[in-house]
Symmetry: C2
Subunit: 273 residues, 2 copies
Amino acid sequence: MKTEALINQIRKKQSFLCVGLDTDLEKLPSHLLKEEDPIFEFNKAIIEATQEFCVAYKPNIAFYEAYGIKGWKSLEKTIDYLNTHYPEQFTIADAKRGDIGNTSTRYAKAFFEELNFDSITIAPYMGKDSVEPFLAFKDKHTIILALTSNVGAFDFQTKKVDGQELYKMVLSTSKTYENPQNLMYVVGATKAEYLKDIRKIIPESFLLVPGVGAQGGDLQDVCKFGITENIGLLVNSSRGIIYASSDEHYASSAKEQAKKIQLEMKIELDKLK
Amino acid sequence: MKTEALINQIRKKQSFLCVGLDTDLEKLPSHLLKEEDPIFEFNKAIIEATQEFCVAYKPNIAFYEAYGIKGWKSLEKTIDYLNTHYPEQFTIADAKRGDIGNTSTRYAKAFFEELNFDSITIAPYMGKDSVEPFLAFKDKHTIILALTSNVGAFDFQTKKVDGQELYKMVLSTSKTYENPQNLMYVVGATKAEYLKDIRKIIPESFLLVPGVGAQGGDLQDVCKFGITENIGLLVNSSRGIIYASSDEHYASSAKEQAKKIQLEMKIELDKLK
């Protein structure tokens, strides 16, 4: 998907919400467990309920890989369902992969071609030749972990490297890689105040922002420091939406929750006018 | 597998060779392509041919994931074959995963429990709460990327952080994580001279060393700077062994190549006496 198509969709729906499909068998409403593929049935219902209020879906691959071949089948069915019924939705394989050269190309082919995701999350530790193989795919997006929302982010990401924090070096170095137009970045909402500095380095790139809601991040702060003329934000909510209730009304609860966030987002978008 | 069992196996076989199963359909001998599962048939033959000369096998997960569900089946069959027929072999899922908390636990369960690998490779960028979920598994080993063998390693890993290189900070910080006895590290053979400094920080930890052979690293240098009383090294060779020839004699060529490296390793081990 071209970035323009994503921006158009955001303007049309007045939403930059990404719904995280971190689907966990142990948390599913019990009546779904008798289905042949409870994970896919759950995802399908969540997608149907939330799609009018969001512009992106992000399955975290760990939740599927944990169930082996069965999990991969659920993942395939989910991405196929999205691409068939809602091709306007931006799809993110939250895989946090990272390997070298040809091996990275393998991962890129797996997610961009075999599964036909629009984007994938990538760890930057191995540098240039681990990232560029992903960037080589036209109209596919590589979302680099820059500043994550967890406690461990302070172990290395915020440490000073040659006078600037490592995550800033990741941002500026990655801009020198081939095909930087295909780059996006993960920046945790729990560190919204960092967004001011981040926007100095990458004024226009799209940011995938986890951590609003369950992890304590604040939407207004994220927008205050991170929003751009072309919005430049995808704010993710996973648990807060998909597990809004755990009974048979889970889909309508998810819908309500997604709608609530979309309305908050509309207020922020109105401020841009 | 307990570390002691690995050390015993190294002493018994006089080898610390790890064979990388980076099995690529495009590089397989053509007569295998008519098999139902060419990747597994290839792996099985490589394992049979090389197992007496090596102590570990390391499938790079990207090569399997690239083929979707079919690839996962080949991976499952390969690890099951190893665990059934050669349980003394140390198995490494070269997955380079890294996520947070419960999500990391998902990956850990997928590789340590579902697939029953002895170890997994992990990217350190997200810090403590991305690594500790893996370390919590008894007698399972978490192999952190420290200093990799690729060009991109110079982007961030060797940059100075608070006066010391980032990879050294990764080594020293990770030692403070819970269950550090389950840690091992990836250190590329192309940077053997760095091993002297590395051993000052982690004098006894096992190192997984890629880059000998095809990538230009030298076994003697790696041993000179990296070997310990308990050996502390697993030196990996992938392409140099598994693609030693591409005709119907691929298995015996792989055997010859593995044997050759094992003999070089024996010379290094003899120096310890």
